[in-house]
């Protein structure tokens, strides 16, 4: 195990963990419910670690990406349903990320939102075209580490650390009215969805194939998943805790993504503000690339096309056409003028509906000795995997009613 590679991998995972949905919901959760939703971030992070490690292990051992194996395991019909569902949810997520980029560039430059969204899309297209896979991952992941300014900002405002620590214990705030309880439940479901977005496992497993992982890389996969994602979730928890300290008491429930940068402006002034906006910008740009590529991987793997960014674009032409088209389609959704915050909500709801379809085949594959040999799921992975599957299945059923009843957490 190369320590430099491992460190870079972990740092990339940290900086690449957060996306626009997590930023928005972390700030809202903190402002409305204080520290009492920290445990949901922590629990859902354990969930994505479990499934992320599984998807990397499947890629390294079976040497096939998840969607190839999904089709073989589930068959054409059910596989197509899984593909269609995941395409739709990831497309909306990609559009939300591009909308987020447009907004962030607007906050930084004052330039019009839709123009910035279009320029972002073209820039992302150029990055994916020109840069090799590893560079794409590393550049955006490492620049996303600018979001560490949120951790420093939290430290600087001297928060109640004992309350933050207590927030890691599962809890429901006492004396909630039934309306507030429904809102709390919706936030819990939304946070789970934002942390466990399906595109993450597709991108991670396909990335493992791109980087030619084998059984020798299993330890790296495990450490990167656990350490990288755990540390990454601390960024979201820092945003939540700052919101609890600064926004809640001030009567602010942040309605727009730019609001979260106020958390760093308060202790650090304009430098803190710009670092926060840039950090979120690169994290969201990375997420936009991941969602677009995850969809292109899924389509190409399912239909048997040559795929991969380790090849030049013209060496995998249908795959190239797929990711270019998907980026443009996401931009088209943004250009309809739909409110980016609404896109975030739709992405959240669609994704949680699709999650059981995503994680069930992955569990079955990782549990199958025929594909995995001695690297099949151990007892811990099995227990945790099925436990989280039951949780997300219950949330998938509850998500839409909660979204409608609470008007997307607005009460």
């Amino acid at each position: 195990m190369n320590p430099i590679e491992l460190t870079l991998g972990i740092m990339t995972a940290v900086g690449g963990f957060v996306d626009i949905s997590q930023v928005v919901f972390a700030a809202l959760a903190g402002s409305v419910f204080g520290y009492s939703l920290i445990w949901v971030f922590a629990l859902s992070t354990v969930g994505i670690i479990v499934y992320g490690e599984m998807s990397g292990r499947v890629a390294a051992v079976a040497k096939q990406p998840v969607f190839n194996l999904i089709r073989h395991r589930l068959g054409l019909k059910l596989g197509l349903i899984t593909l269609a569902a995941s395409l739709l949810s990831t497309l909306i997520t990609c559009a939300a990320e591009i909308g987020g980029l447009g907004l962030l560039l607007r906050y930084l430059t004052g330039a019009p939102y839709l123009l910035m969204a279009a320029i972002s899309t073209v820039t992302l297209m150029a990055c994916i075209w020109v840069l090799p896979f590893k560079w794409i991952e590393r550049i955006f992941g490492l620049l996303g580490l600018l979001m560490l300014v949120f951790v420093f900002a939290l430290t600087a405002i001297d928060p109640p650390w004992e309350k933050i620590a207590a927030g890691f214990l599962p809890q429901i705030p006492p004396s909630l009215s039934s309306k507030e309880l429904l809102n709390f439940s919706y936030f819990a479901v939304a946070i789970f969805s934002a942390v466990m977005f399906p595109y993450e496992t597709y991108f991670y497993s396909s990335g493992g194939i791109e980087e030619e992982w084998g059984p020798k890389d299993l330890r790296t996969n495990r450490i990167t998943s656990i350490v990288g994602m755990a540390l990454g979730s601390l960024l979201s928890i820092a945003i939540l805790a700052s919101a609890a300290q600064l926004f809640g008491p001030a009567g602010v429930g942040p309605q727009i993504p730019g609001s979260v940068a106020l958390q760093t402006a308060i202790p650090f002034g304009p430098i803190g503000l710009v670092l926060a906006l840039l950090g979120i910008l690169f994290a969201v740009a990375g997420a936009a690339i991941e969602t677009c590529m995850a969809n292109a991987y899924s389509i190409a793997q399912f239909f048997g096309w040559i795929w991969g960014r380790h090849k030049k674009p013209w060496e995998a032409p249908r795959f190239t056409i797929a990711w270019v088209s998907l980026l443009l389609l996401s931009l088209a959704i943004v250009l309809t003028g739909v409110d980016p915050m609404s896109l975030v909500q739709y992405a959240i709801v669609f994704s949680i509906l699709v999650l059981p379809l995503t994680y069930l085949p992955l569990m079955l594959l990782a549990d199958d000795k025929k594909y995995m040999g001695k690297h099949v799921n151990g007892r811990l992975a099995k227990v945790l995997g099925w436990l989280f599957f039951v949780m997300i299945a219950v949330m998938a059923v509850a998500a839409l009613p909660l979204f409608l009843i609470t008007s997307g957490g607005q009460g």
């Binding site: 906050y107 004052g110 001030a250 309605q255 609001s259």
Partner: protein, 113 residues
Amino acid sequence: MRRALLPLLLLAGCSKGPEVDLQYIAEARSLGFEWAMVNDLASRGKLTPAYVATMRESLREQLGTTASALTQPQSQYGNQIRALIAEPANAPAAKLRTHAGKLKQIEDSLESN
């Protein structure tokens, strides 16, 4: 039983009044306090000009959307929201907090009913 429920559900969907407007009052209250926070920080030199201008525009735009969603725009809270929107973009933070504070009082009293 289902047939009897349907017109009730339709009626519920068409109903007006403070109960339905409560979420918009909360939204306007939050936007007002946020606007105050932005102006307060801007006056202390903690924000960049581009960010201040964009946030003010976004917040006021959102307030306009919220105001137009009210089922009873001529109510006390409707007037309060319009008064908030009528403030200039660089209004003093204290003034904006006064408007938002009044909305908070209305919100709290509706919630306790």
